[in-house]
């Protein structure tokens, strides 16, 4: 298959030697493989058959080095957000702005571009979590990532405010961009990272990878907001390794994109670790939001819980396909998985496939999924109290999402996220 993602194009991106070599190795793998098709189980129900690699091309390296302006569209969002202790902004995958509270910089916290300012520190850490490329798109990402956000929290350091990572994509139609986030939380540290991914209105392919390393005894809240333009295609991987007695809460708010796919994975590699995976999604118009989750337990006494709740309206389509895998060594693990989807109109589609693969016996494992319309009884109750029907529906839908927001570990972060979902809900129909 001919496309512009060639080893030569990957070589031309430049940067530190180790990164160039890593890109070339991935480009070679990419060259040897074909893009996936819906015949593969993990791509079933997806829109991958409409993907034509020859229609896309990577962005060339920008002419001059150095940092660029922060786009107004991004600044206006983070200026309204919670207090922060650090900020990284990338545009088309390259860091254009960063700031970090001095007191934390003094404690060894690092924020920077993994190809530029933190290239030495990121070497050897990049890909530790996403090393086994699960598919063609991770190879594509690895072959063309120009750099990305690097967040490093040293052992024992507790961040009292969130770090914000903003990935913005804006390029001519047909461009492919490769944002990357690498969060390393060393043992006994604590951090909250909010990753915000958005794009201009162009027809873009966004192939992102976010890696989170949660060291032994560390606590990480990773909150991701996806608010891409209505013509964007996003294929993203989010993967975390959770160490001994560590906790991770990984939350996703997915709203934008023509086709937006997220593989969200939590690997319980340490004994006694705990992961919470949460998501709220809302698709309207002709959108398709596609989630593949994995709770992979290879350590004893590990715990994981997943709650994904979404709504689909108009002709929109949502896919939830999740797997809990309890490996032989995961004795005394407990793992749970719940997916609920509200169907707000007759033409909308939803698929839900909560899978279990259990290879250990002394475990507790449950999953549940439900698909249905807004509850008539709840609407009736509200309407009988004089609430107009449209308002009643909105209240029921927000109430449906609320139990995910309530599980977000950091209260102040929940409010702007609630707001983002509400805004999309209020302007639904605009795109139908």
């Amino acid at each position: 298959m001919t496309h512009a993602f060639t080893p030569d194009a990957a070589r031309a991106l430049g940067g530190p030697e180790w990164l160039v070599e890593r890109r070339l190795a991935a480009a070679a793998r990419l060259d040897a493989a074909a893009p996936p098709t819906t015949d593969e189980e993990i791509w079933r129900y997806s829109r991958i058959d409409a993907f034509d690699p020859s229609r896309w091309s990577p962005l060339a390296a920008p002419g001059g080095a150095g940092e660029h302006e922060v786009p107004v569209a991004v600044r206006s969002v983070y200026e309204e957000m919670v207090e922060r202790c650090g900020l990284i902004v990338t545009v088309n995958g390259r860091v254009v702005h960063r700031e970090l509270d001095d007191s934390f910089a003094a404690k060894g916290v690092m924020l920077g571009d993994l190809a530029v300012s933190c290239a030495d520190e990121a070497r050897g850490l990049l890909g530790t979590v996403a090393a086994e490329s699960p598919d063609w798109f991770t190879d594509l990402h690895d072959a063309f990532l120009p750099g990305g956000a690097f967040v490093f929290v040293p052992a024992g350091v507790v961040l009292d405010r969130p770090i914000l990572v903003f990935h913005f994509a804006d390029a001519p139609d047909g461009s492919a961009v490769f944002p990357h986030t690498l969060v390393v939380a060393e043992p006994e540290s604590e951090a909250t990272v909010l990753e915000h991914r958005s794009s201009g209105g162009g027809e873009l392919l966004i192939s992102g990878v976010s890696e989170v390393v949660v060291g032994d005894g560390a606590h990480v809240n990773f909150v991701a907001v996806q608010n891409h333009g209505s013509r964007a295609w996003e294929i993203a991987l989010q993967r975390a390794h959770v160490g001994r007695d560590a906790t991770l809460t990984s939350s996703s708010i997915a709203l934008g994109g023509a086709y937006a796919r997220l593989r969200s994975e939590a690997h319980a590699v340490g004994e006694g670790s705990s992961s919470n995976l949460l998501a709220v999604y809302f698709a309207d118009g002709d959108q398709m939001l596609d989630f593949r989750t994995l709770q992979d337990h290879s350590a004893p006494r590990s715990h994981s819980d997943l709650l994904f709740k979404g709504a689909v309206e108009h002709r929109a389509h949502s896919v939830y396909s999740g797997l809990i895998r309890l490996r032989e060594d995961a004795q005394k693990a407990d793992a749970h998985q719940t997916n609920r989807t509200l169907k707000l109109s007759p033409e909308s589609h939803a698929e839900s496939v909560p899978n279990l693969e259990i290879l250990a016996n002394d475990v507790q494992c449950t999953h549940a999924s439900a698909i249905g319309p807004v509850d008539d009884d709840q609407l009736y109750y509200l309407e009988s109290r004089g609430v107009p029907p449209e308002v009643a529906e909105r209240l029921v839908v927000f109430g449906f999402f609320e139990d995910v927001f309530e599980r977000l570990p950091v209260g102040p972060i929940a409010e702007p996220l609630r707001q983002a979902v509400r805004e999309k809900f209020e302007r639904r129909g605009a795109s139908s």
């Binding site: 989807t341 909560p354 693969e357 290879l359 016996n361 475990v363 449950t366 999953h367 249905g372």
Partner: protein
């Protein structure tokens, strides 16, 4: 318990009678074999052509990926596709040769007869060797025979429905069955008739590497009802044996069909069955499926709910012991408004066994006001065993209520402790808990089957705890 030394790695009913085979073709599958089967049976031309077309589909069609994963060693050319025992069909039990009678004595068929269960169609290899249709059934206009007889005596009914619910192109094994089918049951219940007792048949495989490809067709006319019961048992052999059946059910408006299977193949059998029912308006189809034996079972009984208010149920129990994989499930396709379905699956894995639930609930466009409830519970009895759940849900309508729930756990220590503190041994306590676990399914079975299933579970539980 006195049975403490029982080792279920050795199959309980695993004897082997020497039977003379009247016709023993070569192994392997090709056009000549299919032609030979058809001409031996003296079939009408349309069936011969249908078989040949199906063989082409079989050759062309790739295996579903999980089929290929599950049985990498299966060699289609190393299997007998048709065997005919030396006896012709008989109406009188005593007229059967002694060795065949012995086989059935061990299976308890005469007892079933004495108990007035129903006309017995016992299948040995690929032909029905013994069949007696009870006169009172005939009086009601109910047709109950083997498929070969039905094709001779009621070709118009067979031709109208054969292959309409499961066309040969459905999957590779449906194509295989349609090409080489032999035996199986045929039931036709006229409009408004309620069959007063369960109809029953036993199936056995009895030759090494003998494929058994029975074909069952059940047509239940408007407002009629029937309960069909099928039990399976086969002796132990050292090489793998392939069983690939097709069961088609047509439930006309307002009809009710229940199909109960207790399957206990010996641990070297590949059991790949396509079972599907078409439920028209206000019809009900219930599949009850107990899978205990075999090396590998892949069976996903399905109901296509084609008319308004049709209802489908699949209730299943799977037990996988050493070296066994039970890959079973259910499929409900809601193609009409106000249809409903229930799937309840209970699985138990032990001694390295693996159970898999694989299911689909699909709601087509236009199927409004649909309800579906799926519940899968799995017990894993030791560290070597494994359980998987793959429940698919594809929903194209808004006004539907689809629920799925699953749990996986081990036998609760507090439950064991409670029972043992009341004086039960650990094995007795565990058997009781496991039997309680599958109780929602066993209580739907005819009593003889419920007792048999419960006893089999008790036997399997020996040595399970510790």
């Amino acid at each position: 318990m006195a049975r403490a030394e029982v080792d279920l790695g050795k199959y309980q009913l695993g004897w082997h009678d020497d039977i003379e085979y009247a016709f023993e073709p070569k192994k392997g599958l090709n056009k000549a074999v299919v032609e030979e089967i058809s001409s031996m049976k003296g079939e009408p031309d349309w069936m011969r052509k249908f078989r040949l077309r199906s063989l082409e589909v079989f050759d062309r069609k790739p295996m579903k990926p999980w089929f290929a994963d599950n049985m990498p060693q299966l060699d289609f050319q190393d299997i007998y596709y048709y065997l005919k025992p030396s006896t012709d069909q008989v109406e009188d039990w005593e007229a059967l040769p002694e060795n065949i009678r012995n086989t059935y004595e061990k299976l308890g068929i005469p007892e079933a007869e004495r108990k007035y269960l129903a006309g017995v169609t016992a299948q040995m290899e690929s032909e029905v060797v013994y069949h007696r249709n009870r006169e009172d059934l005939e009086g009601l206009g109910i047709l109950f025979s083997d498929m070969d007889t039905a094709l001779r005596e009621h070709p118009e009914i067979v031709k109208e429905y054969f292959g309409t619910v499961i066309p040969p192109g459905d999957n590779k094994f449906a194509a295989l069955n349609t090409a080489v089918w032999s035996g199986g049951s045929f039931i036709f219940v006229p409009a408004g008739v309620h069959v007063p007792m369960p109809l029953q048949a036993y199936f056995r495989i009895n030759a090494e590497n003998a494929g058994q490809f029975e074909r069952t067709l059940i047509v239940v006319e408007e407002g009629a009802s029937v309960h069909y019961v099928e039990g399976c048992s086969a002796p132990v052999y050292s090489t793998d044996s392939l069983h690939s059946a097709v069961v088609e059910i047509i439930a006309k408006p307002g009809a009710r069909v229940q199909y109960t299977t207790i399957q206990n193949w010996s641990p070297n059998v590949y059991n790949l069955v396509t079972k599907r029912a078409r439920a028209e308006a206000e019809a009900t189809v219930v599949w009850i499926d107990g899978n205990l034996g075999s090396k590998l079972t892949m069976k996903y009984p399905s109901v296509y709910l084609m008319g308004p208010k049709a209802h489908g149920e699949v209730l299943s129990v799977a037990y996988a012991g050493e070296g066994q994989h039970q890959d079973a499930g259910a499929k409900m396709v809601h193609a009409a408004p106000e249809t409903s379905s229930i799937i309840e699956s209970k699985s138990i894995s032990k001694a390295g066994g693996r159970t898999t639930y694989r299911g689909l609930v699909k709601v087509e466009e236009g199927a409004t006001n649909v309800k579906s409830n799926v519940r899968c519970d799995a017990l894993i009895l030791d560290e070597e065993s494994r359980s998987d759940t793959y429940p698919y849900q594809e929903i194209a309508e808004q006004d539907v209520r689809i629920e799925h729930e699953a749990t996986v756990s081990k036998v609760g220590e507090d439950q064991l402790f409670y029972l043992m503190s009341r004086g039960l041994s650990e094995i007795e306590a565990a058997s009781m808990i496991v039997n309680g676990f599958i109780e929602p399914i066993t209580k739907t079975l005819p009593m003889e089957y419920a007792v048999e299933l419960s006893r089999l579970i008790e036997l399997e539980m020996e040595g399970a705890v510790g």
